[in-house]
Symmetry: D2
Subunit: 349 residues, 4 copies
Amino acid sequence: MNQIPVAVLGATGSVGQRFISLLDNHPWFKVTALAASDRSVGQAYSKTCRWVLAEPMPDYARDMLVVPATPESFETKIVFSALPADLAKELEPQFAQAGFAVCSNASSYRRADDVPLLLPEINADHIALVKEQRKLRGWSGCITTNPNCTSTGLTIALKALDDSFGVKKVFAVSLQALSGAGYPGVSSMDITDNVIPFIGGEEDKVEWEPRKMLGKLSGDKINLADIKFSAHTNRVAVIDGHTVCASVEFENPVSPEDAIRALNNFQAQAAARDLPSTPQPVILVHNEADRPQPRLDRLTGKGMTTVVGRVRADPLFHLKFVVLSHNTIRGAAGGSIYNAELLVHEGLL
Amino acid sequence: MNQIPVAVLGATGSVGQRFISLLDNHPWFKVTALAASDRSVGQAYSKTCRWVLAEPMPDYARDMLVVPATPESFETKIVFSALPADLAKELEPQFAQAGFAVCSNASSYRRADDVPLLLPEINADHIALVKEQRKLRGWSGCITTNPNCTSTGLTIALKALDDSFGVKKVFAVSLQALSGAGYPGVSSMDITDNVIPFIGGEEDKVEWEPRKMLGKLSGDKINLADIKFSAHTNRVAVIDGHTVCASVEFENPVSPEDAIRALNNFQAQAAARDLPSTPQPVILVHNEADRPQPRLDRLTGKGMTTVVGRVRADPLFHLKFVVLSHNTIRGAAGGSIYNAELLVHEGLL
Amino acid sequence: MNQIPVAVLGATGSVGQRFISLLDNHPWFKVTALAASDRSVGQAYSKTCRWVLAEPMPDYARDMLVVPATPESFETKIVFSALPADLAKELEPQFAQAGFAVCSNASSYRRADDVPLLLPEINADHIALVKEQRKLRGWSGCITTNPNCTSTGLTIALKALDDSFGVKKVFAVSLQALSGAGYPGVSSMDITDNVIPFIGGEEDKVEWEPRKMLGKLSGDKINLADIKFSAHTNRVAVIDGHTVCASVEFENPVSPEDAIRALNNFQAQAAARDLPSTPQPVILVHNEADRPQPRLDRLTGKGMTTVVGRVRADPLFHLKFVVLSHNTIRGAAGGSIYNAELLVHEGLL
Amino acid sequence: MNQIPVAVLGATGSVGQRFISLLDNHPWFKVTALAASDRSVGQAYSKTCRWVLAEPMPDYARDMLVVPATPESFETKIVFSALPADLAKELEPQFAQAGFAVCSNASSYRRADDVPLLLPEINADHIALVKEQRKLRGWSGCITTNPNCTSTGLTIALKALDDSFGVKKVFAVSLQALSGAGYPGVSSMDITDNVIPFIGGEEDKVEWEPRKMLGKLSGDKINLADIKFSAHTNRVAVIDGHTVCASVEFENPVSPEDAIRALNNFQAQAAARDLPSTPQPVILVHNEADRPQPRLDRLTGKGMTTVVGRVRADPLFHLKFVVLSHNTIRGAAGGSIYNAELLVHEGLL
């Protein structure tokens, strides 16, 4: 099979590195361009990048020369964007205009009405917005986005429950990993023997993004789900893996047993069920009293599975549970790649 | 002034050590006996105790010979109990029967109708249960208790708000310190690069104990406060200081500004206002966006102050905020000592 | 190919778990028995074992019933021993007597004259002791051992240098991972925001074991290498991966460039060069100023490679460098498996 | 008593903060000026400084307006310099020229022949260089320096041993705290579950600075001590407190008992024995097998004491031991303050 050429924007940052690592030996995609800031342009990737992943830098990337983040630099169909939000806001439309499918991890266009905010296992149908987007904006390419890393696992678990029981209210408190803040990110002086009960802008995202993803596609737009969220977000001394404690109120009371059954039975939407990055399984429910834990469970399903545990009754709402998701795989680069696979599957390149 | 002789039960454990440290140079109390298990009896304290506090072992304790935890071993008025719950259940009544005022950190009698569960700054009046207890049980001594370490700061903050606005519902998610599990307690293999989203029995305590402490004394009993709690409890890689993220619903909407004013204006109950361990201040409200943090704030007011921050509107309930309390000072040994001071002040020895 | 049946003694401990994980899909070996203490005997492995590895428990092990650690329980050729030293001392000879090849990670027989202490890439020829051992002890089986986890990487790096330049004196200071102490092992209260500059018995091992492994086989015995060691051993807050800072004096001055060349050119001994667990490469030398680092480098060569960096001149001796080795893979279970492969290759089962 | 007005240069950095904290309630000194970079000038200290110490910001500093780091800004006798090395190199002579006694924590002038590198408890007599410095440079003020934080504790311990036994060779491996790198300093991504075996420029300092401090004053210059050092320096996940593993060769063999006696008997030089910052005791020797440990021992003697443990025989040299010193108190701000006290005591302001 001919592989589809892809590029990574923001290739030297920590999310960019995760893209490069996950795309090594991808069955459909082949990385042919790495873009980064002027400081790096023209240098071999291995010379200009401070690699921070535990997995070694893939050989294919080592000698690639870094190019500028401009459409003219590329001869690919897909560009993965690990750009910071301000740059993404400016550059991603230029790429979409120039005919590239931009699969973005940035927050810049998540709230745009015509840009799909995708977790393919739960809302692959939202990809239909791409046609509307092309019509409205006159683009031959497109932009798709994946949600904030903390919203990711929570929303997938909620979808399985919402389908069966109707979610009304969600209280969510996160214990988030350091890698979510990039590199150098959080100072060791701030997190050793400590917790930081604040992450700028994060609570807004967790309170809004799930409503779009759990919303229904109606014609050419998404009706936000009628669910109320309250979020507290915290940083803890964990390398990878965001843990979320959630309490949920449903339309009617739900037993833990029924909830566990719904979570275990949940299947990816048909269009997203057999893609290379489809999580296997989509959701894993742990029975042990003290799981999920980030160090032990974050790599479940190669970091793409949403891991749930401690499903139990809640005295105020109906259910309490804990959700864990790998923030830089399912919650960032892996999510964008899954989105790109969906675009290919749907013939939208 | 003649100092009152006091003893510590469970003197070699981590809470016992905190008692010994906090009682060094106490203006009213003088430690004259240290009790521990058979393994330690007869040995010099410094020889048998593996000291785990950062503060050095006080000189007064080094050469004291450890005695058995039996009433006959002591000639003190007050015994501080740092016993495990099962031992506390058996031994504390023997001491109360024998005329000692037992100020206990154990959970065994917190739910007994005639045993006060005290945070003197908010419910010093509950000490009145001691008279009822003596009458019912025929004791010349008594048992008083302080709450679970996670309930402590949360309940103090809630009291300030309840007095002004009437609390109805509380969501509380804790990020708890390692010292709360004692020594050796949590394995380093379980908490390095990790979070444990489970602490046995803890959520029940956090959902029940505040209701007793916020309850009203009516004649000789406490009417539990009509407040509903939902708690999630987590262990994180912090030495000391429990952080709690709380969302609260009141009888009527409350603005963050009004809430901050109520927290700042809160004063200890009169009987508990000028004791040696009275927190100075009782509650401190931080304005910085990212506070309180355990490493930076746990020693506020010598570890007795309840530190609050991030007071803001909640989309589901009315208010969100973060509470921090030092779990082995205000939430354990320091709390028991404060209770003993209240007993002295009220003439109840 | 018919796989060779093997067993694991001490299967529920942390090294036992690593054996079970590494033997999953091993091309030559198939685990057919798991032995542990009486408490676990008769139970399914997944029910009785508290799994502490980040990699999930292999499916093959989940339903195996745990058997007692007695020769009668097994129908295997090889037993891997993850027993504590006192039990190993008693039980391993019983297995060897009964015809099993015992590949042990325990320290009990490392110093026995007729028991090979093996790092196959550097001293595969020491396997010749097995014949002497069988003759002396009348065993149809045998015992082979792998060294202490801290000696492992250090000795491999020293061998590459010793072959070329003749090592005379070695200063070695370790920064050792938590997993080396087993589970629960080190208390989180002892290592959070801390270092423990002491590991019982470890310095003796590091000062003696390399001398046996770097010694020459002469007839049926090993002449200890004439090298003097001084070791300091420390525990640090790292999950896996022992770091050793070494200063080495040679027979003649050696430049860093020559040393790096010798390290890079080092090849496993012929008999151990193409086994399933042969490290690829045996030694990796990093050029970056701040490597090796445990989190980034411990999984080099699937955790079997010895990683060296910071090779530079030493003002007192000749060379300074840093060595990193995965303590529970190359330094424990992986090492024992490599030894077993060598036994098979040499026809010594 | 009239207090001497002092200033802090680089007041907003982490060492600057430690100066401000340690100078709170100092019996001789009163802070009357805080200088920092242009960004902060004119603002209240509490508004412009991100405070990172666990001890709260002293009240005296909160409302002080930050001034530029120029001699004209000050009306003090002493300026404490927490400047980065490049700025210190430029600015400190301007202050000395203008008549200020500069007590510097920067490395810029430590190697200048006429600038004393002081640890008053061991080389208070080196203060005599100040007169030579004034003569040579025509300054009415002066510059004194304190050594690198890792050299500090090591050199103090070595001095006690050198006086009695004559030190010849020292092998030293550090495990250094995060606070030594300032703020934000080390990224949490680099040190969580990790060790960094490299600190830029540090090994050179540890191999040179002790030779000056252990050198003899001869007329108006210091003869470097004839001792050879080899240092490896590592960063570990500890907030405060540098641990050093040392092996030492003496002129003649020394027993651990004799070494412990020499360490315990060591007294500060007479001129430095009764100053406000004199460590009490200068050196503390621990008998426990696993001490010193940074979290438990760094605050010994208010962070000014050098803590030694594990004194034992070394197979290569004569003695092995472990030294711990608080890197931002004894090893930085506290050291500069102690130097200033010595200047006052010697009438050199």
